[in-house]
């Protein structure tokens, strides 16, 4: 091991019940901003969310159309692969169950989520359904800030937070899985924090 530095204590986390902090994580009261590129600036007038089915048919919602759908509030714990965990975060948005109800799911096994700015991430379709995922546009009662993914981001808290694609604008339903951004650069294809699936091969 490397030379240990006297007096360096490493990260200062906050107290948290151990059964809510996955292995290798520490609880934080911050909300760090992580970004792989410039922050997209998307006006609400131009914002669109599109779901493309396996036959290539698109279903789209404008911002106003999204706002008119049934909304849910959720309080969830989020876990970033860079080891911070934030408990009890509050979000408002539309459940993927609501959106997918208008989509032909024939042949769909996996989903590739795309974002304004070029980011992408992949998940199995079952991980987006059954009350496990939302398109979230508000955080702690305020409109989601651009650096945290606003106007809207995907929220899938049971997986590492890189799967909760910021600036989401398209979900492509696939018959077979394809890796997204971090998955193709060395991160785990699925990303379950409770099994500590951080990197390919974990």
């Amino acid at each position: 091991m490397s030379f240990v530095t006297r007096g360096f204590g490493g990260r200062r986390g906050v107290e948290a019940p151990p059964d809510r902090v996955p292995p290798g994580q520490y609880a934080t009261s911050d909300f760090p901003v992580l970004s792989a590129g410039p922050t997209p600036r998307v006006g609400l007038e131009e914002w669109r969310l599109t779901i493309t089915d396996t036959r290539g048919t698109d279903v789209s919602w404008s911002w106003d159309e999204l706002q008119a759908l049934d909304h849910e509030s959720s309080k969830v714990d989020i876990h970033c692969v860079t080891k911070w965990t934030k408990l009890d975060t509050s979000w408002q948005g539309v459940s993927l169950d609501t959106l997918l109800a208008d989509v032909d799911l024939t042949g769909a096994r996996d989903v590739l989520a795309h974002s304004y700015g070029g980011y992408s991430t992949n998940l199995p379709l079952p991980d987006l359904t059954g009350g496990k995922a939302w398109i979230a546009h508000s955080y702690e009662g305020e409109p989601l800030a651009p650096e945290h993914g606003g106007p809207a981001r995907l929220l899938v808290p049971h997986l590492y937070f890189w799967k909760s694609a910021k600036w989401v604008n398209r979900l492509v339903l696939l018959e077979s899985d394809r890796p997204g951004f971090w998955e193709s650069y060395g991160y785990h294809n699925y990303g379950d924090p409770w099994r500590e699936q951080r990197y390919t091969g974990d």
């Binding site: 760090p32 901003v33 992580l34 970004s35 792989a36 590129g37 410039p38 922050t39 970033c80 692969v81 860079t82 650096e147 890189w162 971090w182 193709s184 650069y185 060395g186 991160y187 951080r198 990197y199 390919t200």
Partner: protein
């Protein structure tokens, strides 16, 4: 503006040295996406991420991605088409 969260390729100097065994920030590279040629030290680098993402300063395409894993660095050369090694002279 992206909130000024990026650095330049000088910040990747140590990592590039690990990869190439020599100073690389004053070496040239060519972008496979747009064809621009520039010094590696001038790549636009995002380090607040699960990995370091270096992008072409002309077109923004992802050039190099460095992911630190417990077993070492995993490096992807995405759209950097070529790098010169040995031409730099500081």
């Amino acid at each position: 503006m992206d909130g000024e969260r990026h650095l330049d390729g000088n910040s990747l100097g140590g990592t590039l040295w690990d990869l190439f065994g020599r100073e690389m920030t004053d070496e040239e590279g060519g972008c496979g996406e747009c064809g621009a040629v520039g010094l590696l030290g001038q790549l636009v680098v995002y380090r607040d991420a699960p990995g370091e993402v270096a992008r072409c300063s002309s077109c923004g395409a992802v050039s190099i991605v460095v992911v630190p894993t417990p077993d070492g660095l995993r490096v992807t050369f995405e759209s950097i088409r070529w790098v010169s090694v040995g031409a730099g002279n500081g």
